[in-house]
Symmetry: D2
Subunit: 354 residues, 4 copies
């Protein structure tokens, strides 16, 4: 466990002008023990940060800087990289890691198998030597490993929601992991702030579609992590959908129940066993369905389930805010663990409704 050099954790953000970067800013502005020292950007260098995100007008006075990790490493305690795939792997070094902690919001160090990374992402991995030491930053599952790490691979938004929803039942062997089908629905901020035709208001509004069917890059990440829980290889279906809303991910996951799982009480107990004391996971009463609106703006994950006796299947449902628990909130949660702060420091934002 590292302590901040002078009481307050000094933070640098690379990719501060993307949606996840801006959410880091929103959360860290309210964090009592952190201070942002560096707003790194590729497209807006020398511009006022608050001119890019006008919500921070008169709140953030800083100017955007570049993305030089070596320079930054001398000035802060932790670096958040909210950058495109491949960026961190192309610049990371032992020297940097000896100076600062890194919480990477990209996928560069999430997958342990380089070949799987290169296949699903279609790019060469430039720093495979750090893959082994990187800790997968799903706090509720890898808490102890995170505390002592130098490099955190912050999970993806779909992934966080999918894994947390199914984990206890996979771990306890209550469901047949080969039968897992994850149908996920996401708000549009997950697509980022790039000016692309499919993300225009008129293309997204009043519309719903699946995309990346049988080929979305979060699939192997979910499979790997649930594989650790199952103690064997997991291959599953993951289908993301684009929903006309800004924020929120809802996962509806289907699996065949093993004989033990057909008892709702045992399912409840499994969830309770792993999440009963978690600050950010809220287990809904059996039969109740989570809604993304109930967690919007917060770091909560709401989880519920229904057992269908007619088909012997369980329908597990999880909801989170893709920019908070699915990105920036979880990154700050990891930072809190890394620096010995109470895990929920600066993260008790209430969900905003309506």
């Amino acid at each position: 466990m590292t302590e901040s050099r002078n009481g307050t954790v000094k933070v640098g953000i690379i990719g501060a002008t993307g949606y996840a970067g801006a959410e880091l800013v929103r959360i860290l502005q309210g964090h009592p023990a952190a201070e942002i020292k560096w707003y790194g950007s590729k497209s807006y260098i020398e511009k006022e940060y608050a001119s890019v995100y006008r919500n921070f007008f008169r709140v953030v006075e800083d100017i955007c800087k570049g993305d030089d990790l070596n320079e930054l490493a001398d000035q802060v305690d932790v670096i958040f990289t909210a950058t495109p795939q491949g960026f961190l792997a192309s610049v990371i070094s032992e020297e940097i890691l000896q100076k600062v902690k890194i919480v990477d919001l990209s996928a560069d160090f999430r997958l342990k198998d380089v070949a799987v990374y290169e296949k699903w992402y279609g790019i060469e991995h430039k720093a495979p030597q750090f893959i082994k030491e990187a800790v997968y930053g799903l706090c509720e599952i890898n808490r102890e490993d995170i505390k002592g790490a130098r490099l955190i691979a912050n999970p993806g938004c779909y992934t966080t929601c999918s894994i947390l929803t199914a984990y206890p039942l996979v771990k306890e062997g209550l469901i047949d992991e080969k039968s897992l089908i994850i149908d996920a629905k996401s708000g549009t901020s997950g697509a980022g702030r790039g000016a692309k035709l499919p993300n225009l208001f008129c293309e997204v509004n009043e519309n719903i579609k699946a995309y990346g069917v049988a080929g979305h890059r979060h699939t192997p990440e979910i499979e790997e992590q649930l594989g650790y829980a199952a103690g064997k290889e997991v291959v599953l279906n993951f289908t993301p959908h684009l929903v006309p809303m800004n924020r929120g991910i809802l996962v509806t996951a289907y699996a065949n129940l093993k004989p033990d799982g057909m008892d709702g009480r045992k399912v409840c107990e499994a969830y309770e066993k792993y999440y009963g004391k978690e600050a950010f996971i809220r287990l809904l009463p059996q039969g109740e369905c989570p809604e993304t609106k109930w967690v919007e703006g917060s770091n909560f994950v709401d989880i519920g389930f229904v057992i269908d006796e007619r088909t012997n299947r369980i329908i597990m449902m999880g909801a989170l805010d893709n920019l908070v628990k699915g990105a920036a909130g979880q990154a700050v949660q990891n930072m809190n663990l890394l620096f010995g702060l109470p895990e929920n420091t600066g993260l008790m934002m209430m969900p905003m409704f309506p």
Copy 2:
């Protein structure tokens, strides 16, 4: 096949002030061989129809009438009942059916087994004697039976989309029907125009949720119809979700492929065999995903699929407009069949984009 008494089909609508009723009005206003003679309503009797739906200002001059089927039966050739469950069953009679055709948009005559109806809908069926003769009005599948019928059970919106999406593969035995999981997403007009808290703008907007999990009333309807195709009982999972948009249903259906089904070409051929000549079903190239926006306002159903070789599953996707092909459009398609009109008469509305 019946001919209209004087060239033009005279139409009565009961439940004309609900969303499906209003969509019947929109479509029939542009229908060259039909004329609405009766705008039936429960809540707005004696009020101008165009005061209830201001979009019809200066288009519809009529006054809302009541819901007396006996009186109406003497004045029109066909009655559309867009009414709550149980209404038609409580008033239908042999006398009425000898005078007019009925196209029922409610669920009263969709299920052949009264016990199943009473279990899922929780009400007593008041006219079981007409269940057998009622024809399930899914035109693409039951076209010939529809032509000679007196009573059409117009399919539900989720149902139409679910059945049409999976039918050819079930019929041809390319998928294991026991493995079917249907994850459906619907716009909010499917919930009707009732003033209920969960349907308020602020509750639906920026939100997505599942509802009726493992218990939605459209489940047995899908199972029954796919059971006919399979030649055996089908039990499946059906999970509806509420999406913040006005119109549109997207079905994402998962099934294990039988050995024969693993060949994309055979899947294509099966879809082509049943739908290749259909005016309203558009088969997308393999791998392409339908979007609800591409069918909005039209009677089209767009169907696509992806085969996941990693899991040996197929992901079938279907999209339609719940108020058109999922309700009023299909009802008019049935009317056209009943009265010997070209099936697409008055139904070639182009999808509206954006």
Copy 3:
């Protein structure tokens, strides 16, 4: 008045892959006396038109062609140019105009004063010699002039709504034209299909803003046309706002009433005098407020007003669909006039609600 060369009007569209162009396609597909012969595009040449707008899958089989007006002029009766400002002026010629009618949806020929055009649009006008002959295509006001024209300047969306809302009262001198303030609200399709950051879903959704305040290019167009009605120069405030919806323009216009205007009956009579027989203008009862949803997808303009006796002002309100009456629908209405067809041919689309 021109007749089509062989009964059906042959149509070419330049800019068919923008939103207004696509709306022309939607409307003309249902037009009984027109046939699209040329889908012109700049970015999608040689691509299937239906691959750009998937709503036309299996409806339009054509391939996108280029934007060579000279080539096109030999093949069609009328050309619609839904192109950026300056395009038509840079290619139009006497030779072309001797062959075909042109309905221009851009602003190139809307303003009679070249200097005003060049000031507000910031570009040089390349064909000022055709400005005088161009007829401003606001059918309800310039109907007779349109019939014999070769070149129609189709009004802008904000402009159509603003002018039609205020015209009768300006013309009849019931309001003080110097006091006119027009506060307009538009759906996002008015911003076009360009992939620009401010038009991304997440930037528009859950947001409203004014833009182009005191400098929007539609201002001089409104002023010029209302100036003709007033018989003197009109200078007014026009403030557009971006609303999170796909379609629709609502204009709320404020003006001081002259003594005569304070009588609601006289105001009604003025509206009735100019619009009483119009097919596409629906005058709401005094005190009723139009809603954009009531006209969506149709060529209607709904107009209402309220007199505020406390301030001696009138609040005039108009609503239309910016892609229909505000662009493509009006263009087709002009085409109908040009070719001697009944003015509402192919334009009786019912508004879609919800």
Copy 4:
């Protein structure tokens, strides 16, 4: 100035299950010096508060109580009444006011003239004896009076935005107050959580309309307050519009500039004079337009303006979150003043974007 009885301000909320009440809960949950002791409701007595607002699941454990102010007055330091018009006036008493402070989010004590209240609200005022002592709780303007008050009339959402936007220019005499026209646009949460047809998702989505034109109840409140600033009677036009979004109010206000006002620098100085040190008012650079999204979820008001030299008018624009600065946030700001807390305590929520 009152101090809390034991260091923490004990709070009671009447109307805690409306949207404004729920926003009070969201804000006060993060307030370091306040504690909610009473969740009062009319419809949900004895129900868990978190079952009514599921976003508070596992955050709020309390049960809803009734609306007995006398009982409540013995238990708390301050009561927020987020109740329908007329409620507080019907139950308030000297006895209650001697025990607790009251911050009233309804309109009961906003207007000083009973006759005006009774005319615009259409109900008899039951407690006119307290009108005089009530302080209009617009903190930026009445700060000193608020500190010593017993009864605060918390301003309405439209009102706060309208007044703050125009106040400095009216006060400094830079605009002709008789020419003021306020065109306001609001998100739908302003309409409350009542289950009414016009507030259904399908009626609001993809729609915009004006309502209450020339007769909205916030009009006299704006007039009265701006009248104090002007030192004479102000009569103006106020037109609210319903926008398809959850939160946010945008005011676009038009006024004729007096000769002095035509100088942008003087306008800037006037705004700076009154708001330069305000924590919650952010003055945008001249020419920049505020957007509701930039203040969502926060207590900020963003204000900008444009001078139109062509018409000698100024267009002033203000944006706020109707549930925060327009209701609950301002109420807490008032509470902070009443109890001698730093005014921004618990109110530094960052705006959420996107």
